[in-house]
């Protein structure tokens, strides 16, 4: 029984191995690494854009539900009455954006304008290469620099945003690009710092290594969990992990331009931000890159805090579910969370956004780093029951203090009435 589920779990890996052995005799030697890489990339290129396509529909339908609307429900199979509950919408959208006229402003810097969406999509796709999607499923396992690779490649998207904003020769584009860069640079710091907490505790930069550290059978001082190994030791279940996860999620929302941090493309202020002047397929690529960036951020958050592809508990029906299903499931849950946020919250202002990053997130991540170190140091001297509340209190108090500064400024008001 377990073997059967094991086989399903490892199905993509075995398939690739089988293909490579079949091709082994046929291919010239120099082509083998290329084919192997292509085989590793193909599932990523197949699964995540498809997920993007489905997410656009789900997002519209979800927002519709939040807003007392129905959302897209028409497009199905052409020439029939089958509507697929609107899930054909993304195909129609894709065809539409493919055949739409590609308008380039006359004053635009044509080359840079053309390169910007590509320069945005490629780094975003590259970030996927270090994410462990399942057991033994890392396209590019960098044992020493995995997380650094993720952030280095992720940081280069800022430049593509600038390219798009600057080359359009549109003031809204430029404003949007400036906002986006300022926001990405500012939020990268809390993002990296909250991830660094995990690196410090796991002792590795490799993402698959970090997932393995959250497994039940790896003895790690300082991580709670059942000693028999029934409960997972996700970093989320530690005080620093819990706080770190929410800090990470906040910074990730800003990094991925999601509400309430979607200022770079705040349509009520600056039309569509840096891609105001993009139409047709280039716009679709921006859209795609944005969502893929969000998925990659969510994937990283899952890997760092939510145990990656690990099930929450270590007994039968849960462990039968393939590891990549767990990963995709957690990813979907986070995406739904972001859709929910988008349907609920208004948007912050630029200065408030910056203030939030520098005055709240950054101190919190730094304190979190210290608390994590303390958690590790106290592992052998204080029992878990006392250590957990202690460390949590050490995070809750600064949270309360920092938050009070924001609350004091804005309060609900009492209104008087004229006689």
């Amino acid at each position: 029984m377990a073997d059967f589920f094991q086989a399903i779990d490892q199905f993509p890996v075995t398939l690739k191995h089988w293909l490579m052995t079949q091709l082994g005799g046929v291919l010239p030697e120099w082509a083998e690494p290329l084919v192997s890489a292509a085989l590793s990339i193909t599932p990523i290129l197949a699964v995540f854009p498809l997920m993007f396509a489905l997410t656009t529909v789900i997002e519209r339908k979800g927002l519709g539900r939040i807003q007392n609307r129905i959302g897209p429900n028409r497009v199905g199979i052409p020439l029939t009455n089958i509507r697929l509950a609107g899930f054909g919408q993304f195909i129609a959208d894709g065809i539409k954006s493919l055949i739409k006229e590609d308008v380039v402003p006359r004053a635009a810097d044509k080359v840079v304008h053309f390169l910007a969406p590509i320069a945005l999509l490629i780094p975003v796709l590259l970030t996927y290469s270090v994410l462990p999607f399942g057991r033994n499923m890392v396209p590019l396992d960098l044992p020493q620099t995995g997380l650094l690779f993720f952030f280095a490649v992720g940081a280069s998207t800022e430049l593509s945003v600038f390219m798009a904003g600057w080359s359009s020769r549109n003031k809204y584009s430029l404003l949007g690009a400036m906002r986006a860069i300022a926001q990405m640079v500012s939020y990268e710091i809390p993002l990296i710092l909250s991830a660094l907490t995990v690196v410090m505790m796991a002792g590795t930069l490799s993402l698959s290594g970090i997932v393995e550290r959250q497994m039940w059978h790896v003895a790690m001082p300082g991580i709670p969990g059942d000693q028999d190994g029934l409960l997972a030791r996700w970093f989320l279940f530690t005080p620093w992990g819990l706080v770190g996860f929410f800090l990470f999620l906040t910074a990730a929302a800003a990094e991925a331009n999601r509400t309430p941090f979607d200022l770079p493309e705040a349509e009520s202020e600056i039309i569509a931000g840096y891609f105001t002047e993009y139409s047709g397929f280039k716009f679709a690529i921006f859209f795609l890159a944005e969502y893929l960036g969000l998925f990659a951020m969510c994937g990283l958050g899952i890997t760092l805090f939510l145990g990656g592809w690990l099930p929450p508990v270590n007994f039968a029906p849960f462990t039968w579910i393939p590891s990549w299903c767990w990963f995709l499931g957690k990813l979907s849950a986070l995406i739904v969370l972001f859709i929910w946020l988008r349907g609920t919250l208004p948007r912050l202002r630029t200065d408030q956004l910056m203030g939030f990053a520098w005055k709240f997130l950054l101190p919190m991540t730094l304190i979190n780093l210290v608390v994590a170190a303390l958690w590790h140091l106290l592992a052998n001297s204080i029992p878990l029951v006392a250590r957990w509340p202690l460390c949590f209190a050490m995070l809750a108090v600064p949270y309360w203090l920092l938050g009070r500064g924001f609350e004091a400024k804005f309060t609900k008001r009492e209104y008087r009435f004229a006689n």
Partner: protein, 414 residues
């Protein structure tokens, strides 16, 4: 005789191109009276030409509420100059009205503030009744009161939705607001036959009586409304982001508001107790006790909250009014529809429309057409103050401030 303007020379086309001096509408408006406030505008562009960014927001812009343009000069994200430009929707409303019969203008008033056509109708009917000395039967007065307050509720509900939309809340509050608006629009449709272009009031009454069962429907809507308002309040009024985005933004002092002729909720948000329903006591407002909420900061949050509170007060009027409405004719039988020629004279009728003081000034020379027909549109006059509220704040604030002024371009441009 001035030299002809050379259109190829940007400097002659208007001083705005060099970024140093241009006159905004309210410069003109204030210079006419005595200036009681100091302009916040600092000398702009001295040695910093290269660092400032001039952006024309609109006429095609998602959040200028129609075809309206703001020529904004930005220092980074800070607004250092803002010039409202309107007139894209100018339809010659006043001139057309002077060339058509009195009754012929009634449908045109619908198009002024197309959200609140019933109050527009009322204001116009009121001024013509003043001009011709007509009396309105009590039932018609009740209908006018009810429809006007329903319109106020409708307008304020939508405004809250639009304001949140400007704040980036992606339609959720707007859709909640529209759901409620739809209920009121259904009532208005069953009463007048049209959802927005009602053309309902007549001189000396209303066009038709209430359809059967209308009052019960209206009572149901009014009874359910506080629940929606509670929900809206819980969802929005205490939201930290909303408070952070609106408190202290777009401040308007009471002195400036008075001297600029601001009316309506915007004036009351600045703390001035001035509500035409109380001041003029027109219609049947004296019969029903209601309170006038006043703000103290004059910022966007106050403007938003004043409207939320006003809706509750309107419901307090509506509830008893729907019960008290008597039977009787809805239009003064003596009022002539055909060959309506008021005696020579002039009249100014005004009401508290949801957006402020809406007045119609009419001069009759005894002919079937008004000799002079003039609208005092609250949207336009409330808008003139925009630059003073936005200077020194960010673009995002300017958008929210514009949203809080509550304009409808049909009324601004006429």
């Amino acid at each position: 005789m001035t030299a002809p303007v050379d259109t190829s020379d940007p400097k002659q086309l208007g001083a705005d191109t060099d970024g140093t001096q241009f006159m905004t509408f309210h410069d003109l408006a204030y210079d006419a009276g005595k200036t009681v406030f100091q302009r916040k505008a600092q000398p702009v562009g001295q040695g910093r030409e290269g660092e400032l960014l001039e952006v024309a927001m609109g006429p095609q812009h998602p959040s200028t509420h129609g075809v309206f343009r703001m020529d904004v000069v930005l220092d980074g994200e800070t607004v250092v100059k803002l010039k409202p430009v309107f007139g894209y929707l100018h339809r010659n409303h006043e001139k057309i009205a002077e060339n058509t019969s009195y009754l012929g203008s009634m449908p045109y008033t619908d198009r002024l503030d197309y959200f609140c056509s019933l109050t527009n109708n009322w204001a116009y009917a009121l001024s013509v009744e003043k001009l011709a000395g007509l009396q309105v039967p009590e039932r018609a007065e009740y209908i006018r009161l009810i429809t006007a307050e329903l319109t106020r509720v409708l307008n304020h509900t939508c405004l809250a939705g639009f304001l949140l939309q400007d704040m980036g809340a992606l339609g959720t509050p707007l859709m909640y607001a529209f759901r409620e608006r739809e209920k009121i629009l259904d009532l208005i449709e069953s009463l007048t036959g049209a959802r927005m272009m009602c053309n309902y009031m007549r001189f000396g009454g209303c066009r038709c009586d209430l359809p059967a069962g209308w009052l019960d429907e209206a009572k149901k809507v009014v009874a359910e409304y506080p629940k929606f308002l509670d929900e809206f309040d819980a969802l929005l009024s205490g939201n930290e982001i909303l408070m952070a985005r609106t408190q202290g933004v777009g401040k308007l002092s009471a002195e400036l508001a008075i001297s600029a002729g601001i009316t309506g909720p915007m004036l009351r948000a600045s703390g001035v107790d001035y509500d035409l329903r109380k001041v003029d006591n027109y219609g049947l407002y004296s019969r029903y006790p209601f309170r006038v909420p006043l703000g103290s900061h004059g910022d966007v949050y106050d403007r938003y909250m004043i409207r939320m509170l006003e809706m509750r007060e309107s419901l307090k009027i509506l509830e008893p009014a729907l019960k008290d409405i008597p039977e009787g004719p809805v239009v003064d039988p003596k009022a002539k529809l055909r060959g309506f020629r008021p005696k020579p004279g002039e009249a100014y009728g005004r009401i508290e429309s949801p957006k402020g003081e809406l007045g119609f000034y009419l001069i009759s020379d005894g002919s079937p057409n008004p000799y002079r027909y003039r609208v005092r549109p609250p949207s336009l006059i409330n808008l003139t103050i925009l630059e003073d509220m936005c200077l020194g704040q960010t673009v995002a604030d300017a958008i929210v401030t514009l949203g809080s002024v509550d304009i409808v371009l049909g009324e601004v441009d006429r």
